[in-house]
Structures are given as structure tokens and as C-alpha cells.
């Protein structure tokens, strides 16, 4: 008999392909046969021997079944163990091979980390700002932010949140469909006095706000539920950040005093970290409306139906969905409108979400953020395509190794899994790197482009980590699939044959396709970047009608220094005079309103034609200014005169109008010398007719996007509202003069509360924010995509050149000149570039049309942008190709041919 081990060595048959049952049957059959033979040798007849053998064996069917069961369980266990062992071996092999190629690992990990990091950051930002209820707000599905919608033929549909206190009170008392409603108002107030005064953000709230949204105090307590109308003692609740900054800790803050506005407040409680009411804007402290509304809104805050200032959040009654709440709420607000005889009898109430992304009045900035998050996905795709390409090239380099594996009996399935696992491993490394990047870039983004939002803590949290993990896995699989495709398509075993050199063979179609995809996505990113940069440029260089640079705006609260109107006017004169005397200041003039920040409208009645019909863009807007205002602002007098020292309280009442108003009210006629009344005045019998003495150019004061509205100006000597700002024109650098102006104002009135003095460009900046965000990030994404795609193209062309060394050598030997060799390689690079460009344009043209609402005076199909994007892509393609092309020139025919 042959010994077991030798048999095993010689005739070991693969486990696979033979069933457990067949083995059992063979074993039993052999046994029966041998037993029969033995019995026959002892003299039994054939039949007797067979039946005796069967009897001795027992119940064959039962044993077959139980033996099969044991065998199958065993085979299953072994397969599982083999799979684990195999996987472990494969992983170890991958790690070893990675360690041999640290530069490849670095490039792959960094490229993917860029892509994933950009994605993670954008996801984090959008998630924080738009996709979650505000921190600590208990959103169990019954909480609604209230919105109002009005529709009119001339202005279209307008969605807004503000309502008057009486309207709020009415809705709250209606008891249906809301269990309770709370209201808030976002106020800027001054804390402290004189030089140490600061501006704080105060959220005026109804006392039920905290319990309604479900937040509990971090320390102390919240407002007592009965402080609706008056408070026994003015109190404040502060945020944790504010408490820590001012008093050291949340606990220490309780019981302290704060001087805010004209009030001395006692701190009674602290909100938990991150709580900022029902929005995510920064807040410092909370006051009840009973304590603070009079100072911010006016003594009649509770009764006036004319001022819409507060916003509402409501808990719906159980069982009422937002739709039903909207219907019932609309009925309630319209009933109020009829009773109060306000226009509210036609508006619609919407019980919207507390999650910003689901609100009906989403901001341009929010919409751009969502777009950017989507677009950052393109960066990830470009990165994936590039990494896929690098891994593909690596797989092709390793084809001999892979072929050996296949020959040794590792099946393609396992090989593919191993290659896929390599991609996922690299992506996991990239994911970890990208979390670091997201943390850093999130902080950067928060402090630069999104500074008006208040969020606590790092951007990196559980949700972001989960998102990054998923993104990494997807990226890893995408990048790992390309090498897997190779193992199935390339006849690997052939590469073992003699004669086929390492790395030989045709250029892979998949690699070319990946390069084209990268190019296409980059074109899309570049076009997007171009559109937003163009929008930003158009918006920031827009002719506002005045010069916004070298202009300072100061808002000293003269009303806080003296109550007497005569003294107050004198104070304003002193402010202006002192500021004018500062070196570097050209002029300083008062104005009632501030472009983009405050507007005043008037209803105009023409003596011969009656009331002016509603104008597109609203208005006419009215402002009262000192005589030098037009020059200080850099406006242009078109006709007539501006105000002079002769326009005083008792003289003829004069106005200056702008061209838009001239066109709207006196088309084709000369308005100078004509007069009109304003509606408020018209109520009185002796209301004067305001005589037009001059026409100035149009100015943008509502939003950047809207055409300049009709606007007229009165001299401050003849119309003097309390509201006032000081515009200061300077002749050189603005920044250093800002503090000089503040000091000058404090010298005049040391008791001033915090005085806001800013370069006027800050005001315009707020308007530019959305486009700056879009332009900066789109340009960044475009640049990232471009760099990654350039690296990808470079690596493919370089690889090609190495492969074609022999061909190039032969060409040179046959007399090809350097220029011909370069153009041979360049043609390849340009072909990839052109294909990518064509594919990219096919995507970009329809996709950009959807952006048009977010662009500023820029057509989504502006040809120059497309030409520029095309130019940039092709130029980068040429650059990425030139380096390998130059290397091709240095190929020496003798060397190459000797390599044979």
C-alpha cells in the first residue's frame, strides 16, 4: 500500500469540483465491496455476501445523510477559514506593495483626500446651516416657523417672516391651529458707555420662547411666564459663549449686572452652548420684549399694526399637520386683517419648517451653498478618476505579478477583491486625512465667507465622520474598480509568455476614457467658476451711482446723549465739524437713510394728476440730507442745483429728485420748477408743495440686483427725522481713519453708547457675500479640478512616452526631427484635452442654465466664459504634455535599439 503522504503529494486533487456526497458514497461503496469480497472468500454465495455486508453496515441511508451533514459543515467552515486567511494574506501583500511605492500612495491619498475633504467640508457647512434644526431646538415635527406670503400683480409673490405685535397677539389668542406661538426680534444694542462701549446682538423674545422650543437652562433660570407686557425688573438671559467671555463661566454670570442700551439688566440665566434662538445667527443675550422692545421699536410696540418687526415660531396642536395649520392660520391672519383693516386680509400663512433648507424664503447664499456642495462632488469625481487612472497604471505595471497569482490558482474573483480592497484602503487613509482638512477648512470658511453664522464647536462631528466614511468607501470602490476591470479584460496569462515585455501592449481605452472624464468635469467646474467670478466682478464693479470706496459711515446715537431736539441738531453739527477737521477727511455730511440698510418711502401726490401709481422697484424713496451730501457720496448733478445754505426751515420747501423719478413722474417733460406733495403731508390742509430744484443721477439703494428706484431728497433743515448717519469722504486710506472718526465723535460726546463706524465698503460687502462665496469656492474647486486633471494627463502621457520609446527611437533613427517628435506627443495631449472639452461643454451648457437665478447680470451661456474655460483647459493640457514630450526628444535611437 502506498503511504498516505506520498499519495497526497502525488495525487492531491482539488477540493473544489467534487461533492461531499460523492466522497461519502465512494467510501461506503468501497467498504461494502471489500466486505463482500471477504465474505465470499469465506465461502458465502454472492447474494448472501451482499446481504450480510449490508446488514453489517446498518441503515445505509441514515448514515449517508449524517455523514454528508458532517462533511458539508466541515467544508463550509474550511471555506470560510480559507477566505479569511486569503483576505488577510491579500491585505498584507497590498500593504507590502504600498510600502514599496510610498510616492504613489502619497499622491493617491492626497488626491483623494482633497476630493473627499472638499466634499466633507461642504457637507458639514450645508448640514450645519441648512439641514438641521437650530441647536437645542426640539424638532419633533410639531414645531413650525411662520411665514407669510402676499401676491400682487405689480410685485409678484413675496415671502416674508415679519409681523406686527397685534397680528402676533391675534394669532396666539386664536388658539387654533397652534398650541402656542413665540416671537423674536433680532436687535443690535450698545453695551457700556463711551470708549468701552460695544455692540451686542440681543434677541428680544416673548417669555414662552424657551419652553416652546424645548431648551433648558445651562445655569440659572429663564424668564418667568408672566413677563409679557411688563417686567418687575429688567432681566437678561445670556448665551454660554457670552457668559464665559464676560464673567468667566456660566455659573458666575448668574446674578451679575449688564448695562445694555438705557437699561441695567440682571442676568438670571444662561442658555446651553450653541443655542441661538430659532435661527443660526450669532446672539449674545436675550431680553423679554417687555423689557427691550420699547427702546428698539418704540413705545407703541405692542399696539401699532403698522410696524412688522417680529418673527414667529409655533408649536402646532397635536394631530394638526403643517398643511392644515397653514389653512387654519391663514383664516386667522385674514380675520385679523379684516378687523384691523390692514392688507393682511389677503395674505397666506405658511407653517414652515425650522430647518432652513425647507423654508420657503431660502437665501441666495443658502442656495449657492447647496450648489457648491453638489459641485464639490465633481471635484471628488475628478479625484476618483485620477486615482483610478494611477491605480490602473500600477496594475498594468504589476501584470506579471498578477499573472503569477492567477497561475498559482488564486481565482480572479479573489484577485479582484484584493484590488478593490487596495482602493478602499487608500481611500480610508484619504478619508482620515480629509477629516483633518475638513476641520481646518471648516474653521477657515466660518471665519471668512460665512462669518455671520454662529455655530459652536468644530465642524467635525458624528454626522460628518459618517458622511466622510461613506464618501471614502464610495471613492475607494470607484477608484478600485478600474484595476479590477483590467484583470478581467487584459489576457494576463499572456504576459507570462516570453517575448512580451513588461508594460508592453496597447494603450488602455479605459485610461483614455478616465482622462477625458477628468477633462470634462474640469470644464464644468471652470465654467461654473467663470460664471460666478463674472457675477462677482459685475456685482462689485457695478456703478452704484455713488463712490463706495474711501467712504466711512458713522452712526453715533445722538438721541442717547440728549433728548432735546435743538441740542441734538447742534450735536450733529458738532459731530460733522469735528470729523471734517480730521486730517485726511475731505467732507462729512448727514443723511437719514443708508443705502442697502435703511429705506424710507413716501407716497407722492402730483397736483395735476393725483397719486403716483405704484412703481416697479417700490418707492419713491425719500431721504433728507445736508447740502454737501451729494458731493460727499460722489453723486452727479444732472440738472438744476443741489441744496444750499439758503434752504432753511422757513424758506420755500425744495427737493432734489433722481432721474428715475423724473422719468416715472414727468416723462418727456422738464421737472425742474414743478412741485408735488407727499401723502402724509397731504392730510393737512396747508401742506406745502415741494418744489423740484435739481435732478441727480440714479443710485442703487435697495439691493444690488434691482434697478435704481425713484428717489428724492429733502434738505435736513426742512425735514428732520431723528434717524441719522454721518457719511465721511476721505482722500486716502479708509481703514486708519475709522478709529480716528470714532475718537472724534467721542470727544464731542463722551457719553455716547457704542458708536458704529465702518468703511462703507462693509455695507456693500454684505450685498456681495453670496457671489463672493460662489466665486471663491467655485474658483477653488475649479483650480483643484484643473490641477488634479493636469496631473492625470501628465501621468498618462508620460506613461505613453515610456512605452513608445522604441517607436520614437526608430523614428529618430529614420531622421525625425525634434519638432516632429514633440508634436507627435503634443497631438495626443491635445486630443485628450479636446475630447474632454467637448464632453464638458455638453454637460456645462444645459447644467449652467439652472444656475441663472443665482448669477448677477451674467448669462449662463456667456461665450467669453466658455472660451476662457476652453482656453485654460487646452493650455493646461499642453503644459502637462510638454514635460513628457521634452523627455521624448532626448530618446537616443542607439540606446533604445540596444535595449532589445
Amino acid at each position: 500500500m502506498i503511504s498516505g503522504p506520498r499519495l497526497r503529494r502525488l495525487f492531491r486533487l482539488p477540493e473544489k469540483g467534487r461533492s461531499v456526497e460523492a466522497d461519502v458514497d465512494a467510501e461506503i461503496a468501497y467498504h461494502l465491496e471489500q466486505t463482500e469480497r471477504e465474505l465470499r472468500e469465506r465461502g458465502m454465495s454472492d447474494d448472501d455476501a451482499r446481504s450480510e455486508a449490508l446488514r453489517r453496515f446498518g441503515d445505509i441511508e441514515r448514515f449517508r445523510t449524517s455523514l454528508g451533514g458532517i462533511g458539508r459543515a466541515r467544508a463550509r467552515r474550511r471555506r470560510r477559514r480559507d477566505a479569511w486567511e486569503g483576505a488577510w494574506q491579500d491585505l498584507a501583500r497590498s500593504v507590502r506593495s504600498f510600502r514599496r511605492e510610498p510616492s504613489l500612495v502619497a499622491v493617491v491619498a492626497l488626491t483623494l483626500a482633497l476630493g473627499i475633504g472638499v466634499n466633507a467640508t461642504m457637507f458639514g457647512v450645508v448640514d450645519r446651516l441648512l439641514l438641521r434644526p437650530p441647536p437645542h431646538v426640539r424638532d419633533d415635527g410639531t414645531l413650525s416657523r411662520l411665514f407669510f406670503q402676499a401676491e400682487s400683480p405689480s410685485f409678484g409673490r413675496v415671502t416674508y417672516r415679519s409681523q406686527s405685535y397685534p397680528a402676533f397677539d391675534h394669532l396666539r389668542r386664536a388658539r387654533r391651529p397652534f398650541d402656542d406661538i413665540a416671537a423674536t426680534f433680532d436687535a443690535r444694542m450698545s453695551m457700556g458707555r463711551g470708549a468701552s462701549a460695544r455692540r451686542v446682538v440681543v434677541l428680544l423674545v416673548t417669555p414662552n420662547l424657551f419652553s416652546l422650543v424645548g431648551v433648558t437652562p445651562r445655569a440659572g433660570r429663564f424668564f418667568p411666564p408672566d413677563e409679557w407686557v411688563s417686567a418687575s425688573e429688567p432681566t437678561a438671559v445670556v448665551t454660554e459663549t457670552f457668559a464665559t467671555r464676560e464673567f468667566g463661566s456660566a455659573e458666575a454670570a448668574v446674578g451679575e449686572r449688564l448695562d445694555v442700551g438705557k437699561l441695567s439688566l440682571r442676568v438670571i440665566g444662561v442658555t446651553p452652548a450653541g443655542f441661538a434662538g430659532v435661527d443660526s445667527r450669532k446672539v449674545d443675550l436675550f431680553m423679554t420684549m417687555a423689557a427691550g422692545a420699547a427702546e428698539n421699536i418704540g413705545a407703541e410696540w405692542r399696539t401699532t399694526p403698522n410696524m412688522r418687526w417680529l418673527t414667529m415660531v409655533a408649536r402646532r396642536l397635536p394631530g394638526i399637520d403643517p398643511q392644515q395649520a397653514g389653512v387654519a392660520g391663514t383664516a386667522a391672519i385674514q380675520r385679523y386683517g379684516r378687523e384691523a383693516k390692514k392688507g393682511d386680509s389677503t395674505i397666506t400663512l405658511i407653517a414652515g419648517s425650522v430647518i432652513p433648507a425647507r423654508q420657503p424664503d431660502g437665501s441666495v447664499q443658502g442656495r449657492i451653498s447647496v450648489w457648491l456642495a453638489g459641485v464639490s462632488f465633481l471635484v471628488l469625481l475628478v479625484a476618483c478618476a485620477n486615482v483610478a487612472n494611477l491605480l490602473l497604471a500600477r496594475t498594468l505595471r504589476r501584470r506579471r505579478e498578477l499573472a503569477v497569482h492567477l497561475a498559482l490558482g488564486i481565482d480572479r474573483h479573489r484577485l479582484s477583491l484584493a484590488l478593490l480592497a487596495e482602493g478602499v484602503m487608500l481611500a480610508a487613509l484619504a478619508g482620515a486625512l480629509s477629516l483633518v482638512a475638513a476641520r481646518w477648512s471648516g474653521d477657515l470658511l466660518r471665519s471668512t465667507l460665512l462669518s455671520e453664522y454662529g455655530w459652536e464647536g468644530s465642524l467635525v462631528d458624528g454626522r460628518l465622520v459618517a458622511y466622510t466614511a461613506i464618501a471614502s468607501l464610495v471613492a475607494g470602490v470607484l477608484a478600485g474598480l478600474a484595476p479590477v476591470a483590467v484583470t478581467f479584460r487584459v489576457p494576463l496569462l499572456e504576459s507570462l509568455r516570453a517575448g512580451v515585455r513588461e508594460g508592453g501592449g496597447r494603450r488602455s481605452a479605459l485610461r483614455s476614457a478616465l482622462i477625458v472624464v477628468q477633462g470634462a468635469l474640469t470644464v464644468v467646474l471652470l465654467v461654473g467658476a467663470g460664471l460666478f467670478v463674472q457675477s462677482f466682478t459685475r456685482a462689485s464693479t457695478l456703478d452704484l451711482g455713488y463712490r463706495a470706496d474711501r467712504l466711512i459711515i458713522a452712526s453715533p446715537q445722538a438721541g442717547e446723549v440728549t433728548r432735546d431736539s435743538v441740542e441734538r441738531e447742534a450735536l450733529w453739527e458738532q459731530f460733522a465739524a469735528r470729523v471734517r477737521a480730521l486730517p485726511g477727511v475731505v467732507s462729512a455730511d448727514q443723511s437719514v437713510t443708508t443705502p442697502f440698510e435703511s429705506q424710507w418711502t413716501a407716497e407722492v401726490i402730483l397736483p395735476d394728476r393725483g397719486e403716483l401709481p405704484p412703481l416697479k422697484g417700490g418707492g419713491p424713496y425719500v431721504n433728507a440730507v445736508t447740502p454737501g451730501y451729494f458731493e460727499t457720496m460722489g453723486m452727479r448733478l444732472v440738472k438744476g442745483r443741489t441744496f444750499t445754505a439758503g434752504d432753511v426751515a422757513g424758506s420755500e420747501q425744495v427737493v432734489v429728485i433722481n432721474e428715475a423719478m423724473a422719468r416715472a413722474a414727468w416723462p418727456g417733460a422738464d421737472p425742474i420748477g414743478k412741485c408735488f406733495r407727499t401723502k402724509d403731508d397731504a392730510a393737512k390742509d396747508d401742506s406745502p408743495c415741494l418744489t423740484i430744484v435739481g435732478i441727480v443721477n440714479d443710485v442703487r439703494i435697495t439691493t444690488l440686483g434691482e434697478a435704481p428706484p425713484a428717489h428724492f431728497f429733502a434738505p435736513l433743515t426742512q425735514w428732520r427725522p431723528d434717524m441719522r448717519v454721518l457719511f465721511v469722504r476721505v482722500d486716502d486710506a479708509t481703514e486708519p481713519l475709522v478709529s480716528a472718526v470714532r475718537r472724534a465723535l467721542l470727544e464731542v460726546a463722551p457719553a455716547l453708547p457704542y458708536t458704529r463706524v465702518r468703511p462703507f465698503s462693509e455695507v456693500v460687502d454684505v450685498e456681495l457675500r453670496a457671489w463672493r462665496l460662489g466665486a471663491t469656492l467655485f474658483a477653488l474647486f475649479g483650480a483643484l479640478g484643473l490641477v488634479v486633471a493636469a496631473i492625470g494627463l501628465y501621468s498618462v502621457i508620460a506613461h505613453d512616452v515610456t512605452q513608445r520609446r522604441r517607436e520614437i527611437g526608430v523614428r529618430v533613427a529614420l531622421g525625425a526631427r525634434a519638432g516632429q517628435v514633440v508634436s507627435l506627443v503634443l497631438r495626443d495631449g491635445l486630443r485628450y484635452g479636446a475630447l474632454g472639452l467637448a464632453a464638458g461643454l455638453l454637460i456645462a451648457i444645459p447644467a449652467s442654465a439652472r444656475l441663472s437665478a443665482l448669477l448677477f447680470q451674467t448669462s449662463p451661456h456667456e461665450p467669453t466664459i466658455y472660451l476662457l474655460a476652453a482656453g485654460v483647459l487646452l493650455a493646461v493640457a499642453v503644459l502637462a504634455t510638454l514635460v513628457p514630450a521634452r523627455r521624448a526628444v532626448t530618446v537616443h535611437p542607439s540606446e533604445v535599439l540596444r535595449e532589445e
Binding site: 466522497d23 465512494a26 453489517r56 453496515f57 466541515r74
Partner: protein, 110 residues
């Protein structure tokens, strides 16, 4: 006339099989034959039970099995003791001897 064969005590078959294999690899039939010849047909062993025992012990790692060819080119499954199989045999033998001695001392008490 042979005497009636004895029924096998539970678990005893395993130890017999292990013992059988101490002289080298054997196939199932060989094991059955050896036990029968050695005991002089005193024990009643169903051949099916023997195979169940073999497969179970292979599963537990006491035996290793290989397919091989006999001299007349038949495919047979050959069983062999593993290291843990040897340990098991030692333990069981000791256990069995103790057991047998205890039973015998009771039965032979006078």
C-alpha cells in the same frame, strides 16, 4: 456456534478507532476489519457507526484524512492520527482503564 456479540458501550468505539490508527494510516474497511479480527467478533459494531465516528473525529481534528489510491488503483479515503488525536487516545485509555478497574473491583468483591 459463536457467542452473542456484546453491545458496544457508549463512546468506546472512538477509542477503539483511535487505537487502531496508532499503527499508521488505514481506510475505513481496514479499521473495521482490524477491530473485528482483534476482538474475535466479540463486539457488535455497525459499520455505519464506525464511519460516523471516523468523520466526527476528523471534524474534531483528531484524525486527518486524505484520498489516496490502492494498489489496484481504487480511490480510498485514508485516515491518520493527528497530534491531538494521540493526546485524546492517551486520555481516553487512562479513563477507560480506571473505569474498567473500578467496575471489576466491585464485581469481584467477595
Amino acid at each position: 456456534m459463536p457467542r452473542e456479540p456484546l453491545d458496544l458501550l457508549q463512546g468506546t468505539l472512538d477509542v477503539l478507532v483511535l487505537k487502531t490508527l496508532t499503527w499508521g494510516a488505514r481506510h475505513g474497511y481496514g479499521i473495521a476489519r482490524w477491530i473485528r479480527d482483534t476482538t474475535g467478533n466479540e463486539l457488535l459494531i455497525e459499520d455505519g457507526a464506525l464511519y460516523t465516528s471516523l468523520h466526527r473525529m476528523e471534524d474534531r481534528g483528531w484524525l486527518s484524512a486524505e484520498w489516496g489510491l490502492t494498489e489496484d488503483n481504487r480511490r480510498v479515503k485514508l485516515y491518520q492520527l493527528t497530534t491531538s488525536g494521540r493526546q485524546e487516545l492517551r486520555a481516553r485509555t487512562a479513563q477507560w482503564t480506571r473505569y474498567a478497574r473500578a467496575v471489576a473491583s466491585v464485581l469481584q468483591a467477595t
